[in-house]
């Protein structure tokens, strides 16, 4: 066997030891299967945006636009009438708006985790899913931002959230975690967009060059003027976005350095955003909200829900575009296992909260938790616990992970469970607070429901546009993890593992 030259001064005993090295054979699925070559990967990914728009896309877009219009109507209704049209009433002054905000922000966590943290951890399997997850992150942040923005009541004054001097001498309350949210979420959104866009530049260059090649060859017989027109559009559109990318060595060197630096900057953001979101609750002295485990528990929950949404999106895409060789069973296995791990961390936090509520010997805290589980919102607690803690336990079984339809259904459960988690935290503590005489029961109004439901439409519209116009996967990075890219050989070896 061979070792590298560094630190290689060894004596006879070590040489004898190394001579005994004889690794056991381990079969692991490659990250790109079926012995696909580099050209196939480029073609497969580019053709998603180059071929004629499929019918299902138009149908989905129509449905998504229609659904998104509900948010438009809901917001119009709200702005024209006031926040009173939401189901908020003393003592429950935070309802679906904050629940939806935390829900969407949580979903937005997987993108940065996959692109930044998994990049630093050198997890090769991230390459097939990171672009779509990053796109999902940005669209989720857009959906999340709507709720606090309109919750301020007079949305045209929302700019007061920023510390900009104004004629009324109004200055933000810097001691409020809601104000910290403004900075945390806007920083997160900005860095996520930068990361997403920068990562796409080489692929945008590829799309541009392919359009140029077709135009040069002029092979449009039978395809009509429209095809040529589209290529002219593509050539210019992607040329602007690719910012002069030429695949040169120094381009790649700068790109990789910038990517690493952005990954380093983004990693703390994965923690900071949801930590500050958890402070929205934990800084209060309300039983059920004030508990020290909230920051890491919220971060784990966010990663959990983010991966749930990645599965929800990627499994249908895999089937629709025939991406089985790029998003393999190994990718699905890994994502399921992350859901299992983070779901269990969330379960640890649920149990720890409950235990310390008792152990703390504070009757108000104990009541808050017993009330959560057995009070008027028991059904929400059951939904939360069963979807978030029990459902992912099925991912222990290989057969479950291998059944894409089942995994997809379970990912929906995760999304639902994580929405209910935020509902349970927000509403149960407020509905039954310190003054029993003012206890209430929160019900959303039609405006609440329409606004939230519509954000799924908005999210889908944005995601469908992404699918149609931007490269779904980082072409070069996928090639890096292919068997052919392994400097130690194994060409065409299905069994070898190369990340």
């Amino acid at each position: 066997m061979a070792t590298t030259s560094q630190d290689c001064s060894m004596d006879a005993a070590q040489a004898e030891l190394l001579a005994k090295v004889q690794p056991a054979e381990l079969h692991e699925q490659a990250l790109v299967t079926n012995n696909r070559d580099f050209n196939w990967v480029t073609d497969k990914i580019c053709r998603i945006v180059e071929t004629k728009t499929p019918t299902w896309w138009w149908i989905c877009m129509a449905v998504a636009l229609m659904t998104a219009s509900f948010t438009g109507v809901g917001l119009l209704w709200l702005v024209s009438s006031g926040v009173g049209v939401w189901g908020l009433a003393n003592p429950i002054n935070w309802g679906w708006a904050i629940v939806n905000f935390v829900f969407w922000i949580g979903i937005g966590h997987a993108g940065t985790l996959i692109s930044a943290v998994l990049c630093l951890l050198k997890q090769g399997w991230r390459t097939s899913i990171n672009r779509a997850a990053e796109a999902m992150t940005i669209f989720a942040v857009v959906c999340a931002g709507i709720f606090p923005l309109f919750h301020v009541g007079r949305v045209w004054f929302a700019w007061w959230l920023f510390p900009i001097p104004n004629s009324n001498g109004i200055w933000p309350q810097f001691r409020s975690p809601l104000e910290w949210d403004v900075f945390a979420v806007s920083t997160y959104g900005t860095v996520s967009v930068l990361f997403w866009y920068m990562g796409m530049i080489p692929d945008l260059g590829v799309l541009r060059d392919r359009a140029v090649q077709r135009l040069t060859k002029g092979a449009y017989e039978g395809a009509g003027v429209l095809a040529k027109g589209m290529d002219i559009f593509r050539k210019n559109f992607y040329a602007i976005l690719a910012m002069g990318w030429r695949n040169a060595g120094n381009h790649w060197r700068n790109y990789e350095m910038a990517y690493l630096i952005l990954a380093g900057i983004s990693t703390p953001l994965v923690l900071s955003v949801h930590t500050i979101v958890s402070f929205d609750f934990a800084l209060a002295v309300l039983p059920g909200w004030h508990t020290t485990i909230f920051p890491p528990y919220f971060v784990a929950g966010a990663i959990f829900s983010g991966f749930g949404m990645v599965l929800t999106l990627m499994l249908p895409l895999r089937a629709l575009y025939g991406l089985h060789d790029l998003i393999t069973q190994r990718h699905i296995d890994n994502m399921c296992k992350i859901c299992l791990g983070t779901g269990s961390i969330v379960g640890y936090a649920y149990i720890m909260e409950f235990f310390i509520a008792w152990y703390g010997a504070n009757p108000y805290e104990s009541f808050a938790f017993i009330n959560r589980a057995f009070g008027q919102y028991w059904w929400a607690y059951v939904m939360m616990f069963s979807c978030n803690v029990f459902t992912p336990q099925l991912f222990w079984f290989k057969k479950v992970r291998a059944n894409a339809a089942l995994v997809w259904i379970m990912s929906i459960f995760i999304n639902v469970g994580m929405w209910f988690e935020r509902f349970v935290i927000t509403v149960t503590s407020l509905a039954n607070d310190f003054l029993p005489s003012s206890w209430g029961y929160y019900s959303p109004t039609m405006v609440d429901i329409l606004t939230f439901f519509g954000t799924f439409g908005l999210f889908s519209v944005l995601f469908l546009l992404f699918l149609r116009f931007l490269p779904l996967m980082p072409i070069a990075e996928v090639k890096f993890v292919m068997p052919q890219a392994d400097p130690h050989g194994h060409h065409g070896d299905e069994k070898g593992d190369h990340n």
Binding site: Q6, M10, Q14, A282, I293, A361
Partner: protein
């Protein structure tokens, strides 16, 4: 072991460690006896600090081993073997825990260290433990019988899982059977859950319940972060020594040190994140039933600053800021003396962190007419050093003993070549 030279070296180190360990333990037990005779908790705390320090390293290594298995990590395979050797210390640590358990079970005053264990113990301004409404509420959990059962359950989990992981790994050396790797992966997935629960229970029982009025949901996570930092720093020191002494010469690469260094940086930040979050949420809510724990670590009853304030500052600047800034530099993660220096620094401050968590406590004011309480101040007792050295000696003896049973590196692990050829 692969060679006679290394073998004899290993035997000598093990023997020396055993002798040093026994001497340290005898001295620490002498202090222990003094504590029992004088009804003084401080020498018993020395023992708890010693156990806490060495078990935190072992727990951290157990977590790392399992995490590496679960993530199918390839580069740390040769380091994993050293962790497997150190994990042989778990059964010895259980035996070393028994003196504390013996006090709890057989002494006239079982509540010398954990004051809730004796209902007649006086509380500052609260009467006695038995009369304390908060203790009465917690009594179903905080009672000697259940505590004892938990000690055995906690150690049982650690001993069982570490033992099986060692077995699977050592068996692979002999047979090259890949099934052992699969078994270790499955066991690690389950083991992480069990170990998380056991570690949390240990943190609550052994450290948090010293001041049993106080509570924090984050405490188990703090101990996890502390264990990981202790284990990573120990791995650096251990592997560098093993490389220097010939055992891992030419095998441990700069790239391994670099990656462990990166993990040290990550867990330095994680420790600070957890510690700060716990402090900040309690400080901001300003609820007396929680803040008193931090107040004890800052001021005396009369509001004057006490010695723990300086220790607290030491933790902020010494346990977080200094290692954080140093580890940002590439060279701190690869140049041998620098990696060892920063690891030693982290371990020293980890001990200080344990002091900070264990030692301060409300003491009954000896003057019955004066209001308030006294705070047990920071001090380094010779028994602390004896316990740390003594328990450490036994742990190192256990590790050296284990080293004789298996190869220095897992020669038939499926990822051994990737680990041996690892480059940055």
């Amino acid at each position: 072991m692969s060679s006679d030279t290394s073998n004899s070296k290993g035997s000598n180190v093990g023997l020396i460690a055993l002798v040093v360990g026994i001497v340290g333990i005898v001295i620490a037990l002498f202090g222990f006896k003094q504590g029992l005779d004088n009804n003084d908790a401080r020498p018993l705390m020395s023992w708890l600090i010693g156990i806490g320090f060495w078990i935190s390293i072992a727990i951290g290594m157990l977590f790392l081993t399992q995490i590496w298995y679960v993530f199918h990590a390839r580069w740390p395979v040769i380091i994993r073997r050293q962790c497997e050797h150190f994990m042989a210390a778990f059964p010895y640590l259980l035996v070393l825990f028994l003196p504390l358990l013996a006090v709890v079970l057989f002494h006239d005053n079982p509540g010398i260290l954990w004051k809730w264990m004796n209902g007649t113990n006086a509380l500052p301004g609260h009467g006695t433990v038995g009369e304390d409404a908060i203790y009465q509420w917690k009594q179903p959990f905080l009672n000697i019988e259940f505590f004892t059962i938990r000690v055995f359950m906690i150690f049982g989990v650690f001993i069982l899982i570490s033992g099986l992981l060692r077995k699977f790994s050592f068996d692979t050396d002999k047979t090259g059977d890949i099934k052992n790797t699969h078994k270790a992966r499955v066991l690690s997935s389950l083991g992480l859950f069990l170990c998380a629960v056991a570690m949390t229970m240990g943190a609550i029982d052994w450290f948090k319940s010293l001041e049993y009025h106080w509570f924090s949901t984050m405490y188990g996570v703090w101990f996890f972060a502390a264990c990981m930092r202790a284990a990573l720093a120990s791995i650096i020191i251990l592997t560098v020594i093993l490389a220097a002494k010939g055992y891992l010469k030419g095998i441990l690469k700069q790239a391994h040190r670099y990656d462990i260094g990166c993990m040290m940086l990550a867990f330095t930040v994680f420790w600070a994140y957890i510690s700060f979050s716990q402090y900040f949420l309690i400080y901001n809510a300003n609820i007396p039933e929680e803040t008193f724990w931090y107040n004890l670590r800052e001021q005396n009853f009369d509001g004057t600053t006490n010695s723990w304030w300086w220790v607290s500052m030491g933790l902020i600047f010494g346990h977080f800021l200094t290692p954080f800034l140093c580890l940002l530099w590439y060279k701190t993660k690869v140049v041998i003396w620098r990696t060892v220096a920063i690891s030693t620094w982290i371990l020293a401050f980890h001990i200080l962190d344990l002091y900070w968590n264990i030692v301060p406590g409300k003491l009954v004011n000896p003057d019955p007419h004066a209001a308030g309480y006294l705070v047990r101040q920071f001090s380094i007792s010779p028994y602390d050093i004896a316990a740390l050295v003594g328990i450490g000696g036994i742990c190192i003896f256990a590790m050296c003993r284990s080293m004789k049973k298996a190869e220095p590196i897992p020669i038939r692990d499926p990822n051994i070549l990737t680990s041996l050829n690892y480059t940055e």
